[in-house]
Point group: C2
Chain length 202, copies 2
DNA sequence: ACCTGAACACCGTTCAAGT
DNA sequence: ACCTGAACACCGTTCAAGT
C-alpha cells in the first residue's frame, strides 16, 4: 500500500530530464552531469534517457538550445519595455545578456562550447547566428536614426557583439573586479556608443 | 633484444602528461580527455599520473595555467615588436589574444571555465587578474599620451578587456561570419579606440 | 511507443606493494 | 621518490525483452 515508484515515468521524461539536468548544472557544474544519476533522480532506469537523447552530447545540445530560446525571450521582453532610442534599446539588450549570464553561468558556457567539431548541431549554430542578426538590426536602426555612424552593419555589429558577449562572459565567470558586473553596465554602454557614434560635427 | 617499453618513465612525466593532454585537447576536445588514456599513450600505469596531479581537475588547472603563461609571453613579445603609440600597442595585444584563441580554442575555453566554485585554484585567478592589470597599464599609458580620455583606468579598462575577450572568444568558437576573425581586426581596434578617444575638440 | 535489466568496455581514485 | 597492479564504485552505450 505504500507509494512505490511507478514502473513508468508519468509525464514528459524528455522535459523532466532537461529540467533536472539544468539544476545539476547550476548546483554541481557541468563536469558532474551524469545520465545515470539523472535517471536515478527521476526514478527511471538508466537506459530510459536514450529514448529521448541518443547521446549525452545530444542532451547537452538540447540544453544549450533551451538556453538560446530563453535568452531570446528575455532580450525581446527587455527591449519591449525599453524606449525607442538606440541607447535604450542597446541598454536593454546588454542588461538582458549580462543578467542571463549571471543567472546561468554554466549554461552560458555550454552555449558557447561548440567543441570545434564542424558537425555541431545545426540548430545550435543557427540559434547563435540569430544574435548577430539581432545586433545588426539594432545597428541598422541606429543608423536610420542618425545615432550610429554609417558603414556596413556587419562590420559595425561584430565589435558591438564582441563587447556585449565578452562583458557577459567575464561577468559570468566571475572575472570582473568586485561589483563591476551589475555596476559597470552604464560604462559599457557608454563605451559601445562612443564606438558607434556618428562622425562628430567638425 | 627488442626495444621494450621501459618500466619507468624516463623523463619528466608531469611535463609529458601536460604536453600529451594538450594534444588530445586539440585533436579530440576536452570531453575526450582521460587520465587513463594519457597514461596509456605515455606507457606508464594508469595510477602514475596521480603522483603529479592529485585530481583530473588539478591537471586541467595546470593546463589552463600553461595557457595563461604562453599567452602572456605571446602578448609581451607582440607588444615589444609594436610601436609606442597606444594604437600600435593595443593592436599588438588584440592580435596576440585573437591568434592565441584561434590556435588554442579548447584551451582558451578551459582557461575561462572556472566552474564557479569559489575555491578554484588561486594561481588561476591570479593569472587572469594580470590581464586586467595589463590592459589598465595600457589605458594609463594612453591617458599619459593624451590618446585615451581621462577617468579611472579600471572603469575604462574593463570595457576594453570585454571587447578584446569577446572578440577572441567568438573567433575561437567559430561564431564570427566568414573570415571576420583575422580580417575584422582593424575594425575592432578602431571600435575600441573610438570608445577610448579623448573628448574631441569642440 | 516507452521503458527495463543485463551486459560490455571504459573511467577516476585509492592503496598496499615493489624498486 | 616514483611507479605498479589490483580493487572499487561509477560511467555511457547497446540490445533483447517486456508492457
Amino acid at each position: 500500500m505504500e507509494t512505490r515508484p511507478r514502473p513508468y515515468h508519468h509525464g514528459d521524461l524528455r522535459a523532466a530530464l532537461l529540467a533536472r539536468a539544468e539544476e545539476t548544472l547550476r548546483e554541481k557544474g557541468a563536469a558532474a552531469l551524469s545520465l545515470r544519476e539523472l535517471a536515478r533522480d527521476l526514478g527511471v532506469s538508466h537506459a530510459a534517457p536514450s529514448r529521448h537523447f541518443k547521446d549525452k552530447q545530444a542532451l547537452l545540445d538540447a540544453l544549450a538550445l533551451t538556453g538560446y530560446e530563453r535568452m531570446t525571450e528575455a532580450m525581446t521582453a527587455s527591449q519591449a519595455d525599453a524606449g525607442e532610442s538606440c541607447r535604450k534599446q542597446l541598454e536593454a539588450v546588454v542588461r538582458a545578456y549580462v543578467c542571463f549570464g549571471l543567472d546561468n553561468p554554466v549554461l552560458l558556457g555550454l552555449m558557447y562550447s561548440i567543441e570545434c567539431d564542424p558537425q555541431a548541431s545545426d540548430a545550435l549554430l543557427e540559434a547563435a547566428g540569430r544574435w548577430s542578426e539581432h545586433i545588426e538590426r539594432l545597428v541598422a536602426e541606429g543608423q536610420r536614426r542618425g545615432e550610429v555612424r554609417e558603414g556596413p552593419v556587419e562590420r559595425i555589429g561584430v565589435p558591438v557583439f564582441a563587447t556585449l558577449h565578452g562583458y557577459a562572459d567575464l561577468a559570468a565567470t566571475g572575472m570582473l573586479p568586485q561589483g563591476f558586473a551589475e555596476d559597470g553596465l552604464d560604462e559599457v554602454i557608454a563605451f559601445i556608443l562612443r564606438g558607434c557614434a556618428p562622425d562628430g560635427p567638425p
